[in-house]
Symmetry: C2
Subunit: 316 residues, 2 copies
């Protein structure tokens, strides 16, 4: 019953959205057509937006962004690069790049032949997954590059892989491990056990890796999310860490560190150099050094970012 109701409500929302955005009617007219109050029509339209029943696609390649993308692509020898217009009011806003990441995932997942998609960390990646158009692709595989058990061992954090699998019906491989083990030995033991080895094997064959890039400073996401302690963070910074991909800290030249938390990480390290298509997704002035290092070190061979960040990277 509730589902029935929901369905017809979404249906109306879609209809309202259609009449509003495509047919160009006012909400008043739509209200009359659908026999509801104007307020309800407004709610339907905004529901349509909220549920992403309708999406906006920018057809026009904004020249400035295209040019930045082309320069980044050439300079760092990337297989894929997208630059979206910056949003001066919210320089950290992830919406723009999430949209493009979702688009990339969409087109990758649309393939009829089975593909393997590997997902890393990051707000952009999470937001992107939410925006993927549902499509039935049971033969695809979605694999996590990072452990999905948080530091305190109890809660599992936001389950990106599961969400994407929901939307595609694909098989998925979360990584049932804590992010950090207590010692190097223990890490080595854990990564050898059967289910984990399986995940690693699938990840190694991924057609697309989509990863966030974190900066290693006081505001490092890995610390904010509670995956590493303040002391661990400071130690890595002392060792030269400037950025992090799936938790793996690297220095200003994009070389993975061989010490500190990197010895106890369970997540799958970036390939050096990146062989499979590995797209980094990140925006913000604070991340510029981290992104530039990842590009220089060949930790990623694709980038989705915004105009301001792209400019900053190129001007270094």
């Amino acid at each position: 019953m509730a589902a029935e109701n929901d369905k017809s409500r979404l249906d109306d929302a879609a209809r309202a959205g259609w009449l509003y955005f495509i047919a160009g009617h006012t909400q008043d007219e739509i209200a009359k057509m659908l026999q509801v109050s104007r307020a309800s029509a407004q709610r339907l339209v905004s529901l349509c937006l909220a549920e992403r029943l309708i999406t906006f696609r920018l057809e026009h390649p904004i020249a400035a962004c295209m040019e930045l993308a082309a320069r980044l692509k050439q300079r760092f020898d990337l297989v894929h690069c997208e630059v979206v217009p910056a949003d001066p009011a919210a320089p950290q806003a992830v919406a723009g790049i999430a949209e493009r990441c979702a688009n990339l995932l969409d087109s990758t997942l649309r393939s009829e032949t089975p593909v393997i998609v590997a997902l890393g960390t990051g707000r952009a990646v999470r937001a992107a997954v939410e925006r993927v158009t549902p499509i039935e692709r049971p033969n695809h595989q979605i694999v996590s590059l990072v452990g999905n058990i948080s530091a305190d061992g109890s809660a599992s954090f936001y389950d990106t892989v599961g969400r994407l699998a929901d939307r595609t019906g694909a098989r998925h491989y979360p990584m049932p491990l804590p992010f950090l083990m207590s010692s190097e030995d223990e890490r080595n033991k854990m990564v050898r056990i059967e289910p984990i080895a399986k995940v690693k094997a699938v990840a190694a064959r991924a057609d697309l890796r989509l990863v966030g890039i974190g900066q290693m400073d006081q505001k490092a996401q890995v610390h904010i999310d509670g995956f590493v302690t303040r002391d661990e963070l400071f130690e890595m910074m002392r060792l030269g860490a400037i950025g992090e991909i799936t938790g793996w800290a690297y220095d200003a030249k994009g070389r993975l560190l061989k010490a500190g938390t990197n010895k106890r990480l369970t997540s799958i390290p970036p390939e050096v150099p990146a062989k499979t298509t590995t797209i980094g997704a990140a925006v913000g002035a604070a991340k510029v050094p981290a992104i530039a290092a990842a590009l220089n070190g060949g930790l990623i061979n694709g980038l989705i970012t915004d105009e301001a960040t792209a400019r900053a990277i190129l001007e270094r």
Copy 2:
């Protein structure tokens, strides 16, 4: 200079549209960001819409429409069928189906391998062509199924084929003939001359035919547009004509008539049964018998219509 200006203006329009629709800012905020007055920001947003720099895509298959489409597809054994929500305020409005037709053309034309698209008559087809996303495909071919010289011999009517070719850079084959010749003999002579034979040959290999469907009554488009006289129209109606496709009149069972204006038509007749993908595009209560006949007679094997029309067709 003008081009430069236009370009940067469209660029700004795209940027404004992006900030408005995707980032969700108000026009006031956008005005501040782009350093223009709010009025200009509003103009940029509406320009963005007018130029179709941004498009809306409805992700949610509206259940009712989907169901109607599925039923039509099964009942008449169609290769393609789309039903868009009806617009109660304008039952004849062609915007909705034009959007879908444009989409169909878009996806057909997006192909890298050369395709041939054949276009018939009708407001929906015309409007669809206007909405096609420009894309550079010089190896495609666009061919007209109907003569583009109007009855009085002077003016050429709306040049659908040319417009579509403009947007794709494709080769195009208009048909440099009057719609009707003065006698059967003359028609037979004309259709055998070299350039026309060439057009017919290309049309025969079309991958997609997109045709309008006209009803044969007092409001027949072929008459309103001045292609056939009132007397000719009435004669065809007396002979049982109920609809027409590219001018070819057919009866209630979808059989092409072998008399009257059909003997003097220069346009390429519908195949019976339709072998290549032939999509009919039409809406409106008045067209229901004509559409139903075309479906029953197999003159078309695809249909794009609206909800109200779809319902009426199924309820006959």
